[in-house]
């Protein structure tokens, strides 16, 4: 997967910098050609053609100017003329090769030998950049407004649908089709408001997925792959916020999600600290910074209490750090309460961990911490052990996140803006 990303970047680099590299290469080559005409003794006084050199210098200066002009033309990126979510040619190809996804076929034709493609539901798929493939053909590229419509369709009708199952299949499809949108965006050097709108929807999707598919087998959902792509989208989005003119009404929401997702990371924290004052003082960012600070200080009691104030999607963003938080709490308590007569009430511990007492007892067991028959925890620093690979199932301990989802549809989570979401969950 990583290789695919690299080749995407290669691709972008070639588009952006190819001319410049070629220019430098030419200069270098020209100079070395002059070198080889020198006498083998190493001295560099050698007969040369004055006229040739004069011309060369002039051509090089002209090359610089020509390159600049070319660059200006390239600034006006490749034209995009595909007005449908899937280019007609691709739809035809995939239909005849029977490579349509079940979400893309005309309902009722799924069981046909060659299901019929539905142009209102077919979406351009991701394809690896390859030599000889011209991805800049206008009829294959979707312009910004079509890209935004595509993403809205994917979120509203597919990811946010209550009738499509299983959600792993939904994820697979949306993940792939969003990747193709990203490709079109990169080729067209998309920036500004359209870019931001698309990225925001994409980020919400990946954050939600990181929670919803937690615990699924690796071959169906790999959290690391989801993470790699999510980080990329986040960085791009934050770049847009930084370099664009704005205003960006959702910036508060996404800077918060970004910090919670990357809890405890110095670069992420520093980035947020460098935001303008008015953003840092917004309630959600203040809360996220407080949670981040508690994480850095190791004050997980305070942290888990603050987490109660987060909304559902924010808790999804933070969810992958819950294991670390709870583990650290059990670890420091194993040291802090280490004594022969330690009898810490299980119920109290359950409250601190934001878990049911029975699950708390299970979690203690996973870390080698003894709980006696009177529901008392016998902390001991020598007893604490790291769980075996796969012994700890994060999903069992999800209640802190799941209880916030009550009444919220995935559509409400993914598509709507934060103010509306908090109203719903209250």
């Amino acid at each position: 997967m990583l290789f695919e990303q690299q080749s995407e970047y290669f691709f972008v680099c070639i588009l952006n910098k190819g001319n410049y590299f070629n220019h430098l290469l030419n200069l270098f080559l020209n100079s070395t050609q002059l070198q080889s005409s020198r006498a083998p003794s190493g001295g560099w006084r050698s007969p040369r053609n004055k006229q040739q050199c004069q011309n060369q210098s002039k051509t090089q200066k002209n090359e610089v100017e020509a390159e600049d002009q070319e660059k200006e033309i390239k600034e006006m990126a490749p034209r995009a003329s595909c007005q449908t979510m899937c280019p007609a040619q691709e739809l035809w190809n995939r239909e005849s090769q029977n490579r349509l996804h079940c979400f893309e076929v005309v309902p009722g034709t799924e069981s046909f030998r060659k299901p019929k493609g539905d142009p209102l539901r077919a979406v351009k798929e991701y394809s690896r950049p390859a030599a000889g493939k011209d991805v800049t053909k206008p009829s294959y590229l979707r312009p910004p407004d079509v890209l935004l419509k595509t993403v809205c369709y994917l979120i509203d009708e597919i990811a946010g649908s209550t009738s499509l199952h299983p959600w792993t299949e939904v994820y697979s499809f949306v993940f792939d089709r969003l990747r193709s949108v990203k490709q079109d965006m990169i080729i067209q050097r998309l920036s500004g408001k359209d870019c931001v709108a698309i990225l925001e929807l994409t980020v919400r999707f990946h954050i939600y997925a990181s929670y919803r598919l937690c615990g699924e087998p690796l071959r169906i959902f790999d959290p690391r792959i989801n993470d790699t792509h999510l980080q990329e989208y986040l960085n791009w989005l934050f770049d847009c916020y930084k370099t664009g003119t704005g205003p960006y009404p959702n910036q508060e929401e996404f800077q918060t999600l970004g910090l919670l997702y990357n809890l405890g990371s110095s670069p992420a924290t520093q980035d947020v600290l460098e935001l303008p004052e008015r953003l840092r003082q917004t309630p959600s960012l203040k809360l996220a910074l407080a949670i981040n600070q508690a994480f850095l200080e190791g004050n997980h009691v305070h942290l888990l209490r603050l987490v109660q104030k987060l909304d559902f999607l924010q808790t999804c963003a933070l969810h992958r750090h819950l294991v670390t938080c709870r583990r650290h709490l059990l670890l420091i308590y194993s040291h802090g309460y280490h004594s022969r007569n330690c009898r810490f009430p299980l119920d109290r511990l359950a409250q601190l961990l934001s878990l049911e007492p029975s699950l708390t007892a299970e979690l203690c067991q996973v870390y080698g911490i003894e709980v006696n028959q009177h529901n008392q925890v016998l902390f001991s620093k020598s007893a604490f052990t790291e769980p075996e690979q796969g012994e700890l199932d994060c999903k069992l301990y999800h209640s802190i996140v799941s209880e916030k989802q009550r009444g919220l549809t995935s559509h409400a989570v993914l598509a709507e803006r934060s103010e509306q979401r908090t109203q719903k969950s209250e």
Partner: protein, 395 residues
């Protein structure tokens, strides 16, 4: 210098090259040298003149350098373009023996970075171009010069490896402008660490190098940072007040975190105009309220320098010192309520007994307190010997 003709100038360069006077040659190609102000040298098309007197590739290099009219007109984007040409020609003859190369390379790459900086600012003001683009390109150029130097096989006296630290320092200055570029420092540091010239570079270069490597270590939470920054501070020339101040900004928080006995004196802070640290220093002795106030008052300064996060780490030490004061009551069993009262007096918001227990457990786990918490008795029981080990002994 300010009045010589173009012919005289070119003759001087030619002589410098023939006599292998690298440093003089470098001066004649540097924008710090007065010849840059000479209007007779500011030609739009100096190629012909240069070719008459100089051999390739110097002729084209100097021709590109002479397009200083661009700088005279403060068009740094243009200046940067021409400087790029100078650097690329430089690379062409770097691949064969030539002792003039290094001083010239130093002068020329320095100007490249400065122009890139200025060009960035100019573009930003006009709202054109991508931020960081010019610096990124400059970094690429410098990186290829670095590679040429690092892979040089000549004997130690003629080796281009002597140029590695200078180039690294230039690259650090570019990379440190953006947090997400810091990882690019790693290959440079690795290359220099594994070279046998590591300790032989000039003191000035070493000070700059250790300053940046020290800052990178700080960013990676690597405790080698104290050693590196201390070296830089001690060896930095007494007269470079500004540089010493810059080093102190990063050395102070690290020292405060690691060695509480090494708090900076008020004199030192005043001498280097770093009064912002005064309240923080005082607060760490156990006044949590003062610490929070100090951090908030100078927040902008600390964030801009990138030390806000490390200063917040001082909170743990402050808690430890605060709690230690309470144990001067010569008892080895303290009710948890006492700590709660202490924190409330420091105006710490919504803290309750559960959080007090968590804080204490953390301090015990980190080795700052020797003892245990008894939940049944709601007390902290500390060891009769040395309940608060000295900070320097705790990792």
């Amino acid at each position: 210098m300010a009045h010589i003709t173009i012919n005289q100038y070119l003759q001087q360069i030619n002589q410098a090259i023939e006599n292998h006077e690298g440093s003089f040659c470098a001066e004649l190609l540097s924008f710090k040298h007065p010849h840059v102000a000479n209007p007779r040298l500011q030609l739009a098309s100096p190629e012909e003149k240069c070719q008459q007197i100089l051999e390739p590739p110097y002729d084209e290099m100097v021709a590109a350098h002479l397009c200083t009219y661009a700088v005279a007109n403060h068009d740094f984007v243009e200046a940067y373009k021409f400087q790029t040409l100078v650097v690329s020609f430089l690379r062409a003859f770097q691949s064969h023996k030539e002792e003039n190369a290094l001083p010239v390379m130093s002068a020329v790459t320095l100007d490249l970075r400065i122009f890139a900086n200025n060009a960035e600012q100019q573009l930003q003001k006009k709202g054109k171009g991508q931020p960081g683009e010019m610096l990124e390109k400059a970094a690429e150029q410098l990186m290829s010069c670095f590679r040429v130097c690092a892979s040089d096989r000549a004997g130690i006296d003629d080796s281009k490896k002597w140029g590695m630290m200078f180039l690294s320092n230039q690259l650090f200055k570019i990379y440190f402008k953006q947090i997400n570029k810091l990882h690019l420092c790693k290959p440079l540091i690795r290359a220099i660490d594994s070279s046998n010239l590591k300790n032989e570079y000039s003191p000035a270069q070493k000070v700059t190098y250790k300053y940046y490597v020290g800052r990178k270590a700080m960013f990676d939470s690597d405790f080698k940072t104290e050693e590196l920054l201390s070296f830089a501070f001690d060896r930095c020339h007494r007269s470079s007040q500004k540089n010493k101040r810059m080093i102190l900004i990063y050395l102070l928080p690290v020292k405060m975190l690691l060695f509480q006995g090494h708090m900076p004196t008020h004199q030192l802070l005043r001498k280097y105009d770093l009064i912002q640290f005064a309240d923080v220093t005082k607060a760490v002795e156990g006044n949590l309220l003062l610490l929070n106030e100090a951090l908030s008052k100078h927040e902008t300064f600390f964030i801009r320098c990138g030390i806000f996060l490390i200063l917040e780490k001082l909170k743990i030490i402050t808690y430890r010192n605060l709690f230690k004061k309470y144990l001067l009551l010569k008892t080895h069993q303290l009710p948890l309520d006492a700590f709660l009262v202490a924190l409330r007096m420091m105006q710490v918001e919504d803290v309750d007994i559960d959080e007090v227990q968590c804080l204490l457990a953390n301090l015990i786990y980190m080795g700052h307190i020797k003892g245990y918490i008894s939940h049944q008795h709601q007390k902290l029981v500390v060891s009769k010997q040395n309940p608060f080990p000295p900070l320097s002994s705790v990792s």
